[in-house]
């Protein structure tokens, strides 16, 4: 019911979606590299020994909180160029509210609670580590007051 995967290879959104089955409601989110401000590449580093367990813990938290029949998280690492997919989050439930809320919860939680770090390369060759955003913490904190 829970599937989490981390790796350098791309994923097929249609196949990920299909793997969520024929529940009444399927919600998905895909994050992709934006080419803002002359960005030429984004490289994702992670903490391999923690990552899989961290993603699974988030998926289990979502499944404990909402009546889900499926959760899939796929997160890429390595060097990605603008337009490439970074992350897939998919949830399946009988009713739409559970699927939509759990999907939003998971992407907010991924941004603040999974051991990934992004470094940006600009056209000029500069590299800079992406700073954690207060807005992401605020988005993730929304979910702590609901249960």
């Amino acid at each position: 019911m829970i599937h989490v995967r981390v790796g350098e290879t791309d994923f097929d959104p249609g196949a990920e979606m299909a793997a969520l089955g024929s529940a009444g409601a399927i919600a998905t989110f895909i994050g992709q590299v934006r080419g803002d401000d002359g960005l030429v590449a984004l490289t994702l580093e992670h903490y391999p020994a923690m990552t899989q367990a961290a993603l699974r813990a988030l998926a289990e938290e979502a499944a404990a909180r909402w009546p889900l029949s499926g959760v899939r998280i796929v997160h890429r690492v390595g060097r990605l160029v603008p337009g490439e997919r970074i992350v897939f989050v998919g949830t399946a439930a009988e009713h739409r509210a559970a699927a939509l809320d759990a999907c939003a919860f998971l992407i907010d939680a991924l941004k603040t609670r999974a051991p990934f770090w992004k470094v940006e390369e600009s056209a000029g060759g500069d590299r800079s580590w992406v700073e954690a955003r207060d807005a992401d913490d605020a988005a993730a904190a929304r979910w702590t007051n609901l249960s």
């Binding site: 994050g31 994702l44 580093e45 992670h46 903490y47 020994a49 923690m50 367990a53 997160h75 970074i86 992350v87 992407i107 991924l110 941004k111 603040t112 609670r113 999974a114 051991p115 990934f116 770090w117 992004k118 470094v119 580590w129 992406v130 700073e131 954690a132 992401d136």
Partner: protein, 78 residues
């Protein structure tokens, strides 16, 4: 000891085996001690996060018996 993202870059290495002196008993004390070794990486503790044996912990967490301690910036995945 493992270092990730700019902590790794500023320390100049991804990890190292260290014998920690016995009087260094918490994450906070360890940061103070590591600052001497890697001044740039550990200059600003407020910007650091830490995991002890794969669990994110606060700076007052004990480190006795820890097998793997990792330092990194706030995460930016997703």
């Amino acid at each position: 000891m493992l270092y990730f993202a700019w902590v790794r870059e500023r320390a100049g290495l991804a990890g190292e085996e260290i014998d920690i002196p016995g009087d260094i008993d918490s994450v906070g004390a360890l940061i103070g001690w590591l600052r001497q070794r890697h001044p740039e990486a550990f200059a600003d503790p407020e910007r650091l996060r830490v995991a002890v044996d794969l669990k994110v912990v606060s700076f007052d967490a004990p480190i006795a018996g820890a097998r793997e301690i990792a330092f990194f910036p706030p995460v930016t995945g997703g």
